[in-house]
């Protein structure tokens, strides 16, 4: 029972990691394209990353 749970949690964490990575990368691109909007992009990035992070943690604690 334990091992599938752990694997599932690991998968969720991988997914969350990919998601946060994509958010970060896209934010970088956006900042490069529009440096004057850096503040807004960072805020949006942090919120989105925080939301995904929440899912990752929820998966970790579900184990």
């Amino acid at each position: 029972m334990e091992i599938p749970k752990i694997i599932g949690a690991g998968l969720v964490v991988i997914g969350a990691g990919i998601g946060i990575g994509r958010i970060g990368g896209s934010a970088m691109e956006a900042i490069a394209r529009q440096p004057e909007a850096t503040g807004k992009i960072q805020t949006a990035m942090l919120i989105a990353a925080a939301l995904i992070e929440g899912i990752g943690f929820a998966a970790l604690f579900a184990v």
């Binding site: 919120i47 925080a50 939301l51 992070e53 929440g54 929820a58």
Partner: protein, 358 residues
């Protein structure tokens, strides 16, 4: 000047009231314990709440001595029962109080018999009765310190505005942060019309989380936001404020989503309703997990020093721990920011006015 004297008095009174006593257990010098197991226990112990404010321990020839000061235990067990935590001797003794016997076992207080026997069921669960524990634990003390600190700092800051429009002292440092929360968190997310109502909560929650997070990085030990109860309390407050200040349009969007066909409306209502609970839940988990994870990683890397026991490993883990501490310093502020930001976002959704019917 005044603040300096206040702090000095506080520090000195702390040290004067330092309470030192000898633990009962003799040093286990004969049995070589596995350092990993020992450190693992220490790490878990560090992350947990505690009934006494332990500063450090040292070992003499016969005994392990703890330097700590005791905290009051407040139990709800047929009326309020109070006594000092020093009577537990860190769980080694059974306390008799008002005819009942209490034992501290794995940081929890159980009602036992005179010998302090703990009964287990087949899943290693403790069967003993647990009285409701309202003790002033280490974390409560830290919360109290934070409360006093914030009242002093911000009270003084407010006072410094009385005579001149520019703050003096620490207000100069804090004013930009206060303004940042107002101008970059509250205003854009809640809206010009309603943001003032929420400013007190947002400012308090930001500085509270930040300060207790910073406490967690100091050697005094356990972190307040490392407890699910603390983050749950904060998240529930956010949820309650969102719920009680919400306007018609907010509830309209939850129970009867405008602009979609009726079957979808019926389908969306429970999802949206669940969403309102998931939001504060994720707030709670996020803060708790970020701080816990940071501490676990930091403690584990520090533990490598004791496991490697050589120059290279020690140096490496020290360097890594140092770098990680710097990162944690950022995370402290970042988590406070994100909690405040998301709270503001939820408040904003509660008071948002939808002029256009989709």
């Amino acid at each position: 000047m005044k603040i300096k004297t206040t702090i000095l008095t506080l520090v000195f009174s702390t040290f004067l009231s330092l309470y030192s006593f000898a633990g009962e257990s003799p040093v286990n010098s004969t049995v070589e314990r596995d350092v990993r197991v020992e450190y693992g226990e220490f790490k878990n112990h560090h992350l947990l709440d505690n009934h006494s404010f332990k500063l450090f321990k040292y070992e003499t020839d016969e005994k392990t001595k703890y330097v700590s000061f005791p905290l009051p235990i407040i139990l709800w067990d047929n009326g309020v029962q109070t006594f000092l935590s020093s009577r537990f001797y860190f769980g080694k003794k059974v306390v008799e109080h008002n005819g009942s016997f209490y034992k501290l076992y794995h940081n929890k207080i159980y009602k036992t018999d005179k010998l302090g026997t703990i009964n287990y069921d087949e899943n290693d669960k403790v069967l003993n009765e647990m009285p409701l524990d309202f003790s002033i634990t280490k974390n409560v003390v830290l919360i109290l310190i934070c409360l006093v600190l914030m009242l002093v700092i911000f009270g003084r800051m407010a006072k410094s505005y009385k005579n001149n429009p520019i703050p003096t002292g620490i207000g100069r440092l804090l004013e930009p942060i206060v303004l940042y929360i107002r101008d970059d968190i509250a205003r854009p997310n809640i809206g010009e019309k309603h943001y003032k109502r929420y400013m007190s909560f947002l400012l308090t929650v930001f500085f509270f989380i930040w300060i207790v997070n910073l406490f967690g990085l100091t050697p005094i030990g356990s972190n307040v936001t490392n407890n699910i109860a603390v983050t749950a309390s904060l998240a529930i407050l956010t949820y309650l404020i969102t719920t009680f200040t919400a306007n018609k349009s907010y509830w309209g969007h939850i129970f009867w989503m405008p602009g979609v066909p009726v079957p979808m409306k019926i389908l969306l209502a429970p999802i949206e309703l669940l969403g309102t609970i998931i939001k504060p839940f994720s707030l709670m988990i996020r803060l708790y997990a970020n701080i816990t994870a940071g501490h676990v990683v930091l403690m584990s890397i520090l533990g490598l020093i004791f496991i490697f026991k050589n120059l290279l490993g020690g140096t490496l883990s020290f360097g890594l721990a140092f770098a990680l501490s710097l990162l944690e310093l950022l995370v402290c502020a970042l988590q406070a920011y994100i909690f405040t930001m998301l709270s503001a976002l939820y408040f904003g959704s509660a008071v948002e006015e939808h002029h256009d019917e989709h």
